[in-house]
């Protein structure tokens, strides 16, 4: 495959749980796609090993999707966060612990909340108060800071968060404290800087998560920068959760915005590819080893949400409120289900067949990997039913079909069990898609599904049937598609103000501030609005800083009608306005690649309870204009596309495969 691009070497790296995906483009051509093992504790080691092996030139640009922030917060892979301190308004010390008072599980007496990020002895109060209109009711006496600072330094705490009531309306008191802290503390995170919007718990949580991530993110980026010295010290950009790249410096000062870096890259890849093939409504469906993620692209644009909990648990794809740390920052709207190739198939005490949420992950992995896994997984089910082959293209790894069959036999007749388990997992994933469509007021029937990730193409058509969608797209290189997405991304920086007194003036102020920093940027404007008294807001895109309040209110009412099916005779409040500065990167353009003919062997597969012969071909041998009638299997490096009976596959103009339902 060849890309026309800028005449420089660009490297895109997406670090996943199991594999680190690397895409390299040099002098306008993509020179390679690679998968190397992830080294979770020190991700830069895996990246460096991969680059040493596959990239022997100077790099001009390094684009990166990382899981360092999430893994540190969750305490995974031996990563952890340092203790942080928090300074609050007097009388409101424990907001970070009380949260919203709810518990994440209803019927579990032994429920636990996520571990509180700041222990009680590290919370300090300052006698100050700002009211809802931003009037200072109580000024700060900086002398009050002396004792807390002594203690903080005695405990060797390097990072401090400050969150005062109503600081989004008037940040003066926070800024005063911030200036004092900065003299002696390495990392300072002010709630009015990180997330200037109302709701004290969510803002405090965002500032605290940010404070907790600053040391680890800075350390990681420093190490990464050092490792890149041998490659000519390329400029480093990181994918933010909102689906735009940000500079390394922005990532170190507001690391809270990179927690969903990887998943965002996948959706951005889908949205950019949808532009390329001219398909405006697409459901992006990314299924890997442990999770599946669904997002929507409407009119070529990704959907953004500002409600998110980092490290939260989801229940069949819906985020369980109170199970993680709220972060108020724009996120690509995703539903995630714990269903992937590694999902374990089991039976409950009374003998009902179940899948997940336990996963064999990458280690030990599915039984057929022969790495010590003993419980059958979805990959094992796909293997024994013939959907995937026992030797993957481009890989030396051989899957053991017999051991997969034996493991499934423990649950009953192995092929029947495998077939049912696959249907259950498809139902679970269809659920994730229904959440981002039906539950957001969108009819999935108006959409096509774009499926990627190692397991996505195996399941895509079956899930489409489950939902009633008739068109599926398998993009080129589905196994490393997220990394490819980084190549297409622009830089995007965010700034916001809450309760703007004058809409146009406030937008103007925001734009001026951003233009000073990014003189060549284009701007995107948004306003979070709600009916007076409502509990949550809708994000409304706004054309320019000249927007009239009336126009915005009308646009909100229309969006409300679309999402919820009714309007109200009520005042519309503008809660937060937001600007993105967008700095365009030159996107590579895909041109056609060489085809090599090679016919595969046919496989016998289990479909609808019957064994049938399925035609098998390799993806590279697909000829333009050809049509493959299901049942068929299209194998390629890192993935297999399953074309069930009643479906037809045909290659598109941009190396994608279209699957269409024909009956």
């Amino acid at each position: 495959m060849i890309f026309e691009s800028v005449k420089q070497t660009v490297v895109a790296v997406d670090v996943g749980g199991t594999f680190t995906d690397i895409v390299i483009s040099a002098d306008g051509k993509i020179t390679g796609f690679y998968k190397v093992p992830t080294t979770p504790r020190n991700p830069e080691t895996g990246i460096l090993d991969g680059l040493k092996k596959y990239c022997n030139t100077e790099i001009s640009e390094f684009l990166h999707a990382t899981t360092i922030a999430t893994n540190s917060l969750l305490g995974q892979h031996g990563l952890e966060i340092e203790p942080v301190a928090l300074i609050t308004t007097k009388g409101f010390r424990d907001i970070i612990e009380i949260g919203r008072q709810n518990r994440p599980k209803l019927y579990d007496l032994l429920f636990e909340r996520p571990k509180v990020l700041v222990t009680k002895e590290n919370r300090y109060e300052i006698d100050e108060r700002v009211d809802v209109d931003g009037n200072i009711l109580k000024n700060i006496d900086l002398g009050e800071l002396r004792k807390p600072l002594e203690e903080i330094r005695k405990r060797n705490i390097r990072s401090v968060a400050v969150a005062f009531l109503h600081s989004y309306a008037n940040p003066d008191n926070e800024l005063k404290i911030g200036r004092e802290l900065q003299k002696v503390i390495e990392y300072v995170s002010l709630s009015s800087t990180v997330a200037p919007e109302p709701r004290e718990y969510e803002r405090t949580s965002t500032a605290t998560v940010n404070a907790a991530l600053m040391p680890v993110t800075s350390g990681y980026i420093r190490k990464l920068d050092n490792s890149m010295k041998n490659f000519g010290s390329p400029s480093l950009s990181i994918m933010a959760s909102s689906g735009g790249l940000i500079s390394a410096e922005e990532a170190t000062t507001r690391p809270v915005q990179i927690v969903e870096s990887g998943p965002a890259a996948g959706v951005i890849a889908a949205s950019e590819f949808s532009k390329l093939i001219g398909l405006k409504n697409v459901i992006s469906f990314d299924m890997g080893g442990t999770t599946a993620k669904a997002g929507t692209i409407r009119n070529f644009e990704v959907e953004i949400t500002s409600e998110y909990e980092v490290g939260g648990q989801s229940h069949h794809g819906r985020m369980t409120k109170g199970s993680g740390y709220p972060v108020r920052f724009p996120f690509v709207d995703l539903a995630e289900v714990s269903a992937g190739g590694g999902t374990i198939i089991w039976k409950d005490a009374a003998g009902a067949l179940k899948i997940g949420p336990l996963s064999a992950g990458a280690d030990p992995g599915p039984v057929s990997y022969g790495k010590g896994g003993t419980e059958p997984t979805i990959t094992d089910a796909n293997l024994v039913t013939g959907i995937i082959r026992d030797s993957m293209l481009g890989s030396e790894m051989k899957l053991n079909k017999e051991s997969a069959k034996d493991a499934l036999s423990k649950l009953g007749e192995p092929f029947g069990i495998a077939g049912e388990a696959l249907r259950l997992v498809d139902l679970e994933m269809a659920r994730a898609i229904r959440i981002v469509t039906v539950e957001r007021g969108i009819d999935p029937l108006d959409f096509s599904i774009m499926a990627f990730g190692g397991a996505g193409p195996q399941h895509a058509a079956r899930i489409a049937e489950e939902i009633g969608v008739d068109h599926v797209i398998i993009p080129p290189e589905p196994g490393v598609f997220s990394a490819l997405g980084l190549m297409f991304s622009d830089w995007k920086y965010e700034s916001r103000i809450s309760y703007p007194r004058d809409l146009q003036e406030s937008f103007g102020k925001l734009e001026k501030k951003m233009r000073e920093k990014f003189p060549h940027a284009e701007f995107l404007y948004y306003a979070d609005c709600r009916y007076s008294g409502q509990g949550s807001e809708l994000t409304i895109p706004v054309g320019s800083t000249d927007v009239k309040l009336k126009e915005l209110q009308d646009a909100f009412e229309e969006a409300h009608m679309k999402a919820f099916g009714f309007k109200l005779e009520r005042k519309v409040d503008v809660v937060t306005i937001r600007i993105f500065a967008v700095i365009k990167r030159t996107s590579p353009k895909i041109v056609s690649s060489e085809h090599s003919d090679s016919a595969g062997d046919n496989r016998t597969i289990l479909e609808g309870g019957k064994w049938i012969e399925a035609r098998t071909i390799t993806r590279h041998s697909l000829k333009p204009g050809s049509k493959i009638t299901g049942p068929a299997l299209i194998d390629e490096y890192g993935s297999t596309t399953y074309v069930p009976s009643g479906w037809e596959a045909s290659p598109g103009n941009n190396l994608e495969i279209h699957l269409r339902r024909v009956r």
């Binding site: 019927y107 909340r113 809802v132």
Partner: protein, 521 residues
Amino acid sequence: MASWEIVAKATEFISEEMGVALKRSAISPNIRERMDHSCAILDTEGNIVAQAEHIPVHLGSFRIGSRNIVSWLNRNSMILQEGDMLIVNDPYISGTHLNDVTIIAPIYFEGDLSGYVINKAHNVDVGGPVFGSLNPSASTLFEEGLVIPPSRFLINDKVNKEVLNFITENFKDADTAIGDLNAQMAANRSGIRRVTELFRRYGKAFVHESWNKSIEHTNRLSLLELKNWNKGVFEAIDYLERNDEKVPVRVSLEVKENGIKADFTGSSDQVDFPINAVIGVTYSATAFAIRSFMKSEIPTNEGFYRVLEIIAPEGCIVNPRKPAAVSGGNVETTQRVADVVLAALSKCMPDRAVAASSGTMMNIMMGGRRKNGKFWSYYETVGGGNGGRPTGPGVSGVHSNMTNTLNTPVEIAEKEYPLLFTTYKLRDGSGGKGLHSGGDGVIRGFKVMLPTKLSIIADRFKVTPSGAHGGESGKTGEIDIIHNGEKKEMPSKFSFSLDSGDEVIIRTPGGGGFGSLPHRQ
């Protein structure tokens, strides 16, 4: 051929989707934010096939309510036709309190009645003398709000104006109520549509068979759970507070191979005070406690409910005769029923014992006139300490047992209401001491900036949340009012007129401790 597991799971998802449809289109924050609603799918007999988990207090009351409604229809020879929906809020039929309005609709497939969809949502005001319809001084149901008997709200897809008019003329915020009722009907419609899809795809007979199998499977799973439980009779008693009087709630729990019998004989007679709990509430709280003691994931359907038998003499506080007042029964007595059943279960299985949690929802109702003359009204509950557990200390500042709603953020409350908060933090040391201490309660203090009428329905001001295995009790709740500069200690249930500048300081109870403290050397 598909397996029953697939149909059962798809049905479960439909009930959840109904809940989302309801939440998405509802207007009142109580439903949208606090998710004070539940949805379920019933077979033609009124058995629950699948129920979405939203709020515990609706858990078992739905089972009682659904059956009552279906048998009421049969008794009155009323047949719901396609396009009809029935509305009811009579707590003595639908099973909680007047605020919970239930709407049920039949599912017809190829001309035959093939099931029902049902949902229940807490409407913020259903009429009566006080805002919010939770009246601390009600002595009968008639002082709480409008009683809606089972009535056809929708006939052949058209709203029955006569019923609607009764509602709009009685509910204080009729616009919000209409919006919420529309949302409830929308939820039922989405349920009907999706269940019909299931019938079409898998065949009605197979869907019905799968539903039965799913119920049987849940029943089997529940009985398997009980196999490991100690058998016998376990007793517990705890109290509610009415002025200076202690009102006993007593349970005798018999754990058998084939089920659990909870006998509430010996509990107080019903009272002329809004703390009577209709049998649906008693059923819910009992089901909650038992479900929480089970280790495996039990689907919420008839198969689980079938394991429980409740005995409560008619005319007692946990099974009152109409027209006893019941609004507080749904929010406070429900907690006490859960407390006594959990205490009895803790005796049955000492290794799973937990200490008592705060045991009150601390309901705050207030309102008044703004400077522009318009009324404002505010409803909030405040969490407390969770009891110590065998695995570790209780959680602080959390909603326990029968409720799980969200707080109103201070910054939002100050924006919407004439309030200035003075404190919102944990009440250090309020959790009972023990090997694993109880969680701490919450201190929430605020000043009113305009004259305000305040009502409180709370409990646990005199009887402490008890510890387990030698742990100490948690502290009781307290409310102080600084009225014109003078401090007043308030009881657990009262109404009071606050002057501008008055401050209210609420301290919620801590949880009981678990296990005795190690002896000092």
